[in-house]
Amino acid sequence: MKSNANRSAEIKLLISRIVVYAILGFLSFLCLFFFYLMFVNSTRSNAQLQSGFTLIPRENLFNNFYNAWHDGDINIPVGMKNSFIIAMTSAILTSYFSALTAYGTYVYNFRFKKFVHLFILAIMMIPSQVSAVGFIQLAFKYNLTNKLWVLIVPSIAAPSVYFYMRQYLEATLPIDMVEAARIDGSSEFKIFNEIVLPIMRPAMAVQMIFSFVGSWNNYFMPALLLNKPDKKTVPIMIATLRSADYSKFDMGKVYMLMVMAILPVMVIYVILSKSIIKGVTSGSVKG
């Protein structure tokens, strides 16, 4: 009797496991399928692409890469360079200054400390598009279009990165440590740069990755501010593919351009996926 009940429970568990793995398999397939198609199509020539559907890669990968890299209208090397400059410097600035600001409101006691902290939390949810109108107006008024630094400097004031850094400090930095360093005679800046920053390295790395990816993919503001061919970023170039006359294109090259737009972030993800996934949860509220 008992073994019978056990066996039916086991069979039930087995069936639910099969169903669950099937669902997970299907969703994983859905996540990978379109990108796999993109990759396959980036290895096929235009003629092969017109001839029909296939899931098997062909031999034209390098050919397409050469054509995409040397395209006359879409200067992808310049786009990637511009995107990289913006993404990299923004990532460094946003993590350094957010850490600095978080340290400022965490370690020091000053009159508006609490107000400052709450203020930054309150502005965290305001979408960047709300300031876009005034930003564009000012940029055109003061001749600041087509300047990459205009897109970089605002990253110094990033409320959500501040919030993350502040939580990290609360969890990892004992105030005693700062006081001990003071007794040793270190200056305040030296304490921050030489003692606190090394402690915050994991948090800074996570925020640098997210910031890099965010800037690399950012389309809205750059598209409004950058219109010179030598200043455009990758997303703007990809969007112009959409608006161009489609039938004239070498489609193998188009797929290759998309691969190139996505690849840098994918490489980062493949190497650092574990810490990125950990970073997803640590930035949000604690239950």
Binding site: L13, S16, L24, L27, S28, C31, L32, F34, F35, L37, M38, N41, F97, S98, G104, T105, V107, Y108, N109, F110, V116, I123, M124, M125, I126, P127, S131, V133, G134, I136, L138, V153, P154, I156, A157, E188, F192, V213, W216, N217, Y219, F220, L224, P235, I238, A239, L241, R242, M258, A261, I262, V265, M266, Y269, S273, K274, V280, T281, S284, G287
Partner: protein, 311 residues
């Protein structure tokens, strides 16, 4: 200057360093965000746009821009309700399956009974689309689903369709594609957040429920869901805030036109149109203020849902 304290020479005030350290943030914030925001609100009360080479305005018009925004029979303007409606509808289409699937996966992954193997792999795969450049993702879907694209090639060669389906010309298919992309981009992220929420619940509660002989449905509705509620609300509202900002995917997929017939034009796409050649700072300002009010209302819900939990 300040009074000298008699308690000894160790009571040096470090307050000024606090100010010094937060100055860069606030200077940059004031110049690059706050001032533009104020300017945006200010603009919304002015007639101010470009007509060819001439600049019209700025001329104070009070609430006229807002009236134009909401007017149902103003020449040349589609009422904003349409774009607001589109945005909400597109968000719902993607978010509803997203939350159902994410909740399901979070329960699978945290179930000790199921004991799912390869979790790291599955999480890595389902989170991946979140990092993809949205404009490239949209361009990819455009290429794959175009009339000469591989999806149509497959449908025809396998005999499912007799002639190419115009996926990008029909409201149903365009909206479905946008929803599908948003679903793919965000369900992994939501799964990971909800999972962390479930893992934060005291294991002993599940243990005692199991000993009491509760079914898994009872456990879900009486323990998991109520305790997960603050995080669930947080994730849900931030998804709404993200949804109201939906832009890249429909913009690139429909080439900015919200085809067919403005049925996939979102609020930000509408805003973006005013910032193009016409540089209509007045109307764009009014759209932004509306956007600001909506997000402020949604954020206040988030803060209410988080704060009672704080000690």
């Amino acid at each position: 200057m300040a009074k000298r304290k008699s308690s000894g020479n160790r009571s040096i005030s470090y307050a000024k360093w606090g100010y010094i350290f937060i100055i860069p943030f606030f200077v940059v914030y004031a110049i690059f965000t706050l001032y533009p925001q104020i300017l945006t609100i200010y603009n919304s009360f002015f007639e101010y746009y470009r007509d060819g080479l001439t600049i019209v305005g700025p001329r104070f018009v009070g609430l006229d821009n807002y009236k134009t925004l909401f007017a149902t029979n103003h020449a040349g303007y589609v009422p904003i309700f349409k774009f607001l409606g589109n945005t909400i509808w597109l968000w719902v289409l993607g978010a509803l399956p997203q939350f159902v699937v994410a909740m399901m996966l979070a329960l699978f992954f945290t179930s000790t009974r199921l004991n799912i193997k390869g979790q790291q792999f599955f999480k890595t795969v389902i989170y991946m689309p979140n990092l993809i450049m949205a404009s490239a993702f949209a361009m990819l879907f455009f290429s794959l689903f175009s009339q000469v694209g591989p999806i149509n090639q497959f449908l025809i060669s396998s005999g499912i369709a007799s002639k190419p389906i115009n996926f990008l010309g029909m409201q149903v298919s365009v909206q479905t594609l946008i929803a599908l992309m948003n679903f793919l981009m965000w369900f992994g992220n939501t799964t990971i957040l909800l999972m962390a929420g479930i893992q934060g619940i005291d294991e002993a509660l599940f243990e005692s429920a199991r000993l009491d002989g509760s079914t898994s449905t009872q456990v879900f509705f009486n323990i998991t869901m109520p305790l997960l509620m603050p995080i669930f609300i947080y994730v849900f509202i931030t998804s709404m805030i993200g949804g109201i900002q939906m832009f890249d995917v429909p913009q690139v997929l429909t080439n900015g036109y919200g085809i067919p017939d403005n049925t996939s034009t979102t609020l930000i796409m509408y805003l973006n149109n005013f910032l193009g050649i016409s540089k209509n700072y007045g109307m764009a300002g009014a759209v932004s203020v509306l956007l600001f009010i909506i997000t402020a209302l949604l954020s206040s819900i988030v803060f209410k849902s988080i704060n009672p939990n704080r000690k």
